[in-house]
């Protein structure tokens, strides 16, 4: 029984985000022809300074951020689903996103700088997921228990975010926090990327490397233990990586919802739930999706639409479709 040859789909998985990114480099307030994009990328001396600036300083860092954020969020969603053996478990529904948002808002209020935002965001994201787990996993352990407790913990942290907004300075801090919370990739620059990208890349690489073992996560405790694998360590590593990626994305571009639900499910429908295939699909499609949505967000109207509004418009109907289809709640 040979494993199918996946050469063609692997090539598509690699090319898809690259093509989307190239298209995104062309599109925007001003249209830049493909030839000019390439000249700018390869630093052709004859290129107009405006084009060079737009491609390399404005669009490229933003697209790189979108690629990473999309891949990070969808992989985080994917492993949270497996970790809790629940199709509705995602960074949003588990309260991780709200926790991380609170951490980031707190750091913004205290002017802790980019690294501070990352660290507090990660810490509170982790606190939120642990609280959700403690509250929602009991003997009853119904499918909806974990999601319900996630919503509870999520709203707890959302109100803490409101508290921070309440005490923030109306002139300077409040607008910064509010705008950042709406979710936007417009703050992307190489400086931000240097701080945020390593954490997301680290999480992605670890999850990618151990992806076959992730198939053990949905099994029952004694089933998983009896394979001889240290299942506790596997769970802890996965949870840390998923929270780290979520928190890093949130601290760089605010709360971008729904990606962690939408993409993993699309991928599961395409390739089933073997993580060996599922993780590469989630990375590639998540990255391409985020770039596409962000491109629409920044070029559809005269002023930029916050990206979380777009992802919610796509995500909410999909969530309802999924709920009806799987009959889990």
């Amino acid at each position: 029984m040979k494993e199918k040859n996946h050469l063609l789909s692997n090539i598509i998985l690699i090319i898809l985000p690259i093509l989307t990114a190239l298209a995104a480099l062309m599109l925007g307030r001003i249209f830049i022809a493909p030839s000019e994009v390439f000249s700018a990328l390869f630093k052709d001396p004859d290129i107009k300074p405006l084009i060079l600036m737009t491609v390399t300083q404005i669009r490229l860092p933003r697209i790189l951020l979108a690629l990473l954020a999309g891949a990070g969020l969808s992989v985080a969603g994917c492993v949270f689903q497996s970790l809790f053996d629940n199709p509705l478990a995602t960074p949003d529904t588990l309260g991780v996103a709200s926790g991380a948002s609170f951490g980031a808002a707190l750091a913004l209020l205290l002017h802790l700088g980019m690294v501070g935002v990352q660290l507090t965001s990660f810490t509170f994201g982790l606190v939120a997921v642990v609280l959700t787990f403690l509250a929602g996993s009991g003997k009853s352990k119904g499918m909806s228990a974990i999601v319900l407790s996630g919503i509870m913990i999520g709203s707890l942290f959302s109100s803490l975010v409101s508290l921070i907004k309440f005490v923030a300075d109306e002139e300077s801090e409040l607008p910064a926090i509010t705008y950042w919370l709406m979710g936007s990739l417009s703050g992307a620059g190489y400086k931000n990327l240097i701080f945020g990208a390593p954490a997301i890349l680290f999480g992605l690489i670890v999850i990618y490397l151990i992806r076959w073992k992730l198939n053990l996560l949905p099994l029952r405790e004694e089933e998983a233990v009896s394979t001889g694998v240290n299942i506790k360590a596997l769970r802890v590593v996965t949870m840390l990586c998923a929270t780290l990626m979520t928190a890093s994305v949130i601290s760089m571009c605010g709360q971008v919802g729904w990606v962690g639900l939408l993409i993993p499910h699309m991928c599961r429908m395409m390739v089933g739930s073997n993580h060996k295939r599922l993780i590469p699909f989630s990375i590639s499609i998540g990255a391409a999706f985020m770039v596409a949505v962000d491109t629409v967000a920044r070029s559809a109207t005269a002023s930029e639409i916050p990206i979380s509004i777009l992802t919610a418009i796509i995500g909410a109907p999909f969530f309802i479709y999924l709920m009806r289809r799987t009959r889990l709640l």
Binding site: D85, L219, E222, E223, V225, S226, T227, V229
Partner: protein, 252 residues
């Protein structure tokens, strides 16, 4: 393989004692049935025997080595566990599910080789379930899933198979298939311990039996344990045993 369990005791944390002074032993290729009324502690006994639950006192050794002192890798290379087959929600293919049985032997950063896949398929052929290879687990019937779970346990080539109610919820034919599979493992020197609700199944295929009677247990050769008198004491049911058949007569 020699499994030796000596005066095992177990009580739930802050709870009552569940297992009291249980002793039994099992040699290579032997099949042992564990019987008793609902809630007697059958599943708990299996979990304590495997070391998944820690015994309050007593010793459990496999080939002379204390189970609680073995490394998980070594322990689970000797023992495999087949859980009760509640319907699976996993959409893994059966072949992928069976390969998970090798997880303990495969490096964290790699995945099953072509050879592993081949041996999984060979095993499926042996168990006559090769047609299920590409089928998804959540689309299986109870009997099919049970066979897939048995295959997952066997692929790591264990010496002892522990099964939790392997024939529960299966139809006549599938019950027999599962029982025969256990009996066939004898030829490979693999021993089995299984929980069951059916005393007949113990009589049909088990060499030894352990029966919960109130707080105590009786252990020995199946014919000596599954007697009309013991069934009455354990289950509170008057029954008649004829050859391998048990005819329940009345509730006491």
């Amino acid at each position: 393989m020699i499994l030796d369990v000596n005066k095992l005791n177990y009580s739930y944390p802050h709870g009552p004692a569940v297992l009291k002074d249980i002793s039994f032993n099992l040699g290579s290729g032997e099949v042992m049935a564990v019987l008793g009324p609902n809630g007697a502690g059958k599943t708990t006994l299996l979990k304590v025997t495997m070391g998944v639950l820690k015994a309050s006192s007593g010793r459990c050794t496999i080939d002379g080595e204390d189970i609680s002192k073995l490394s998980p890798k070594k322990l689970w290379s000797k023992i495999s566990y087949v859980p009760q087959s509640k319907l699976s929600t996993s959409s893994l293919s059966c072949l992928d599910m069976i390969l998970l049985g090798l997880a303990g032997k495969i490096n964290s950063f790699s995945s099953p080789s072509a050879e592993d896949r081949k041996s999984a398929y060979e095993l499926m052929k042996e168990l006559k379930i090769e047609k299920l290879a590409e089928k998804k687990c959540d689309a299986l019937s109870g009997g099919e899933l049970q066979m897939v779970l048995i295959a997952r346990a066997l692929i790591s080539k264990p010496k002892l198979l522990i099964l939790d109610e392997p024939e529960s919820g299966l139809d006549f034919r599938n019950q027999l298939i599962v029982l025969d599979t256990m009996a066939k493992l004898k030829d490979d020197g693999i021993s089995c311990i299984f929980n069951t609700h059916y005393p007949e199944h113990a009589l049909m295929r088990a060499d030894k039996a352990l029966l919960f009677i109130d707080e105590h247990t009786v252990f020995g050769h199946t014919e000596d344990v599954i007697t009309e008198e013991n069934i009455e004491r354990s289950f509170g049911v008057r029954a008649r045993i004829e050859d391998d058949y048990i005819v329940p007569l009345s509730v006491i």
